[in-house]
Amino acid sequence: MFKKAYTMLLACVLLLTVVLAGCSGNSKETSGESGSKKTIKFMHLWPQGSSKQQNMIVTDIIKQFEAEHKDVKVEVEVLENEQYKNKIKVLSSSNELPDVGFTWAAGYMKPFVEGKLFASLDDVLNGGLKDSFIKGTTEAYATDGKTYGLPLELNIAPIYYNKQIFEKYNLEVPKTYSEFQNVVQTLEKNGVAPIALGNKDRWTGSLWYMYLADRIGGSEVLNKAINRSGSFEDPALVSAADEVQKLVKENAFNKGFNGLSNDEGKSEFLNGKAAMYLMGTWELPNFTTNEEIPKDFRDNVGFFKFPTVEGGKGDINSWVGGPGVGLFVAENSKVKDEAKEFVKFFVEKWGEQSVEKAGVIPATKVDTTKVELPQLYVDVLNELNKASNLTLFADVQMSASVAETHLNLIQSLFGGEVKPSDFAKKHEDALKKEEGK
């Protein structure tokens, strides 16, 4: 009996050791030269399941790249968005970033750049790639004049509207802010919620504030306040806050917006209860090709540019938006040159097919005459080529802690809990505090 128990125990201990040993990382595969072939480690966040189209394009690009560069092999690792973010963080703390990977602009990549983990990509840009990017997109990936990431996606935010509802009440697409207010008032009187908004997510409301700031004070005023060459207590930024509260008082937004998520807000627009919806162009598939949404509705969605404010300095062709994900090259990569070559190749090929195959607008210019697209896409792309300015989403521009303050203040502003002047002052305080650090 004793002997048997002892054997069992030993077996258990042995098993446990094996299990624990399995946990410890032995994933130290050599990156760099293996045999005669060089290996580029590449991590992306478009798994086959959830981002089928993107995944296909990526696989295709890698195949082409390997065909053209016989001595290079690209090793791919795919993770879902959140897992990807986590893994990148873990890898960076042990300095084991993949040679090429995805990053987000401005605030997100700041700690990586400061930690000298990303390589500067200026040489790639200056090697002829610069002109193919839409103005304002690579800037979001630059720190102190050096660019550390090349954007793949670009999103701008137009106001989508329901043509049927507009027709029913004889409304025209507004070009100026007073026309826009007429539209809001007419809709409100007729019991239609003028604007769909889910402000629990807070950045949704920030879009409205940003556009008003842009149209009243011009495209630079908000940027300057954030990069500290100006002040957030600029009269234009205060009066933009004031306009937001006026809209709220006019019942321009659907009821209870501060407690609804963006998806809930969006559904007010999708089911025809609200007439307008200000959102990024990532929604375009929902209004064109997505079969899950009734065709009847999809055919009736149009968009217009945020109207100009009378007496304001803003230009109607100035957009709020931002690049989505971009590519980085790791600073301590052993195959840096090949990695940069791969990034360049990727950006070029991606720009050629992303919008047509996956509905993703690339950060590089698209020739609309060469691609087959739904009309709504073509219109947006044409507007994009005319764009005079692109202001990056405020919460992306700001550092993480200021962004939280901004988003919370936006929610209070829409909820009427903070006065426009205090709204500006609290921003100024937070920005000053950050600057002092």
Binding site: M1, F2, A5, Y6, L9, C12, V13, L16, K89, S92, S93, P111, F112, E114, G115, K200, R202, N254, K255, G256, F257, N258, G259, L260, E264, K273, A400, S401, A403, E404, N408, L409, Q411, S412, G415, E417
Partner: protein, 291 residues
Amino acid sequence: MDKVMSNKKVIALYIAPALFLVLALIYVPIVQTGYFGMTKWNGVGAKEFIGLENYMALIKDEMFWKTAYHSLMLAVFSVISLIGYLFISIILAGKIKGADLLRKIYLIPMLLASVAIAQLWLKIYHPSNGILNTILVSLGVENPPSWLAEPGLALYAIIVPIIWQYAGFYILIYYAALKNIPESLLEAARIDGATPWQIALKIKLPLIMNVIKVTIVLAVVGSLKYFDLIYVMTDGGPNGSSEVMASYMYHRAFKEFDFGYGSAIGFFLLVICLVVTWIIRKFTAADENVY
């Protein structure tokens, strides 16, 4: 077999794996969190040791005390709700028809995942299509509140589903404790002419006092570290009006990338829970079981 069990080495060997896992997965991280709280760290770069600066800032942080107050409100309401559960359990444990079915009905919310409960209540509270406001409108209320969007209401609107969520759990505990009371005691009381009310108050209640104390500790500590429904339903909003300590910790660490400060909050939260548990224990020192 006895011989094996009395061998000290064997005992140590048997205990070792569990002890090792508990140490490695719980106690070591606790100490680490305490240490991270003493650093300035954005989660990516190097940690910079700054001593007790985070903890000092925390004590002066108005937002933190606001969230602590919200957590306290949650704890208070959870404890008050225990009275209701106790009452229901006494009725269920009495011999009424359908007690078994009712017990199951009460237990079901506990079987649902928190996220499912959150989604369910989000639909109930929806400002225009929600069942709650639909009923209010049909009752003639002109402008029913949009529950989760109003700073003064959001916290209380979330406390309701939290209390609802745990009803089954506490009722089950009380029910089991009540069923454990020897029938002979109750029968003796009945022969002596005690009314059902007297039996409940003077006999059943004192006999399950120890269980009640445990549930109070569970309810209070559970409330202080509560996170899930709040995260899904309002994410602490609007503007922090439903933020509790745990969600505040999450926001500081994972949204603002201030892992040093987040760790300090986490460690402080642990200290608060320990102190509160100790206080409750002190005031309700356990008696010996009398039967």
